[in-house]
């Protein structure tokens, strides 16, 4: 075991896969010499050389499109989107090719590639650096979308993602890149994609969240406990495919469900999860499913961001509301 933050854990996963599979290549804007703007790929170019870990020209469509080409030709590219807000020039390649190649060629070609992408707010950033747009990616048929909430999960999930024969959008909660440290097993281990994690057991309310929101929910759970409310927390880990079974099982037990997400509310992940609760556990529900989410607005610049963010009180407010319903 080794104490790691999420940056160390992702670096470790990349190191392990670069070490054991010569088809793995890692590239993106500033990932080589500098080791990435968040230092996630630090040291990897020195260790594996410029043919396997390298800086690309500044072009996100170029990044995703060339990764599609590499992947159909047998490599396993892991590319970095510097910030979530800059992925959109590459969106065309994601939605038009990366997610479709296997289906289009009836299985002749596939695109085993990982798009790593820091996402989310709470870091006092400039415009386009704080969004959490998992919903629009979850909506793309043929794409898998995952997001870890701990260093341990980040390592195991990224190794699984690189070994997967699908295209994986790997969303990294940059707000907690260095905020959480924990013991992470050394060497290789995997966490299956598509399985949620029940972080803590409870009886009154189920909360489903992912990424940086897990920590915020945990703070709210402590406050709720003071009022005698017992909350079960599910870390989704995978946005698509979504773990219906774990959600259903929990809601059948608690009868109440709240989703906590950072993205805009309408057409968001919360709606999808509420629908799952309705479909799978309708007769167990004691209250309408509730959402804690961003507003249907742009994430404000830092001085206004506190209005938008999901602080533990926003979560507690919904917990108290749903219990009293």
């Amino acid at each position: 075991m080794k104490i790691m933050n999420m940056v160390n854990a992702i670096n470790d996963a990349l190191d392990i896969k670069l070490g054991e599979d010569k088809n793995v290549v890692v590239y993106g804007e500033d990932v080589g010499v500098e080791g990435g703007v968040f230092r996630v790929t630090e040291g990897l170019q020195q260790k594996y050389g410029v043919e396997r870990v390298f800086d690309s020209p500044l072009a996100e469509s170029g990044l995703v499109g060339t990764a599609v080409g590499m992947a159909v030709a047998g490599l396993r590219p892991v590319i970095e989107m510097q910030f979530c807000g800059f992925v959109y020039p590459g969106f065309n390649q994601i939605i038009s090719h990366a997610s479709r190649m296997r289906n289009r060629s009836r299985g002749l070609y596939e695109t085993p590639m990982v798009i790593r992408m820091p996402y989310g707010g709470g870091i006092n950033a400039l415009e386009h650096h704080s969004e959490s747009m998992e919903a629009i990616f979850g909506h793309i048929p043929g794409l898998k979308v995952v997001a870890p909430s701990t260093p341990h999960d980040a390592k195991g999930m990224l190794i699984s993602a690189i070994e997967s024969n699908d295209t994986i959008l790997f969303m990294e909660p940059k707000r907690i890149y260095r905020a959480i440290k924990q013991e992470v097993a050394e060497g290789k281990f995997t966490i299956p994609l598509g399985k949620a994690n029940v972080v803590s057991q409870g009886t009154d309310v189920t909360i489903v969240a992912f990424g940086a929101m897990i920590r915020e929910v945990q703070k709210a759970i402590v406050m709720a406990k003071e009022s005698g409310i017992s909350v079960e927390l599910i870390d989704l880990r995978s946005i698509y495919p979504i773990d219906r079974e774990t959600i259903a099982k929990s809601v059948k037990k608690t009868g109440r469900i709240i989703t906590v997400t950072e993205g805009p509310r309408s057409f968001g992940l919360g709606s999808e999860i509420s629908q799952i609760a309705i479909e799978e556990a309708f007769l167990h529900l004691e209250a309408p499913p509730a959402r804690v989410s961003g507003f249907d607005t742009i994430v404000p610049l830092p001085r206004g961001e506190h209005h938008y963010m999901q602080d533990p009180y926003k979560i507690l407010y919904e917990i108290e509301r749903i219990v009293k319903y």
């Binding site: 804007e29 703007v37 020209p57 500044l58 170029g62 400039l126 507003f295 607005t297 001085r303 206004g304």
Partner: protein, 363 residues
Amino acid sequence: MFNEYNPLKNTIFQIIDNDGKVINKAWMPDISDDRLIKAYKDMLFARTADLQIVSYQRQGRIYTYPPNYGQEAISGATGAIIGENDWMVPAFREMGAMLAKGVTLKELFLYYMGYEDGSKFQKAKFTLPISVPIASQLLHAVGIGYAVKYNKEHKVVFGFVGDGGTSEGDFHEAVNFAGVWKVPVIFIIQNNQYGISTPTSVQTASDSLAIKSVAYGVKGIKVDGNDFFAMYKAIQESVKVCLDGEGPVLIEAVTYRKGAHTTSDDPTKYRTREEEEAWDIKDPLKRMKGYLKSKKLWSDAEEEKIIPQFKEEIDRQFIEAENYGPYPKEDVFKYLYAEMPDDLKEQERQYERFLQWKAAKVK
């Protein structure tokens, strides 16, 4: 000029040397002494402000900021020429040109302190807000150019991008559209040698960035971006070309980002002190000052006298921005639509109810 300095020849347009001595009399622009001194003062003001902002950032009084240090001649020459009715389409490293358009330092401070209000320019006309997604703004410049031409207006559009931005598809689409539509747009590439840590040699295998104009049938020129006179002349000629209906023009301004990419960046990771020193010799203010001193238009004594006045003015505007006050919750919601949809109004009301509950809870 555009024939003589055709990018296919891969020469660089310069007028003064590193000491400020004129080495290219044929193209020396005709600028009055007063305007020259004003241009130098504006550049000095921009530099003083830039360095001061970085120190405010180090004190935790402002968020992430992208310094302009070392690139002042590009914005300075633009600022000396751009008219109040010309369009300014910035990226995010054009402080001098923004100030020349009438954007105030206070507004820039507000932006970097995390208020969108900093992009609601009170005085500057025809100036778009800072654009963060790389190169995307150049297409807007072309669209504006189309509207200018359509309305038969006598004005030009300045669109800025960095060297890294020339790798984006939007850059190529913009220059191509501009060429096809023959719009009055002056594209200025600030080639400061790095896109964050990535050197221009990793962005392109071309001999220059200016040469990209050739394939799109657009006039182009590679200019010493640390040479105020060369930048001034190149922009002046470009304006003429645009107003004659012969635009667009692509200018590659070769410069060096003496500071970090942003205050979050550490250049020691990817470049050497020797390289930085080699560029110090070509510093744009030093060179222009060399010229002005040789003509007895400026002195070190004047500079020493004026810098404290600049600092006082910068500090005054900074403190005004610091005292701007809280960010009202309405501002999160009210600018998204011409008329706010009911659902969004309800979200605002829900938030208000939450705030009331929280106020009671944490009492």
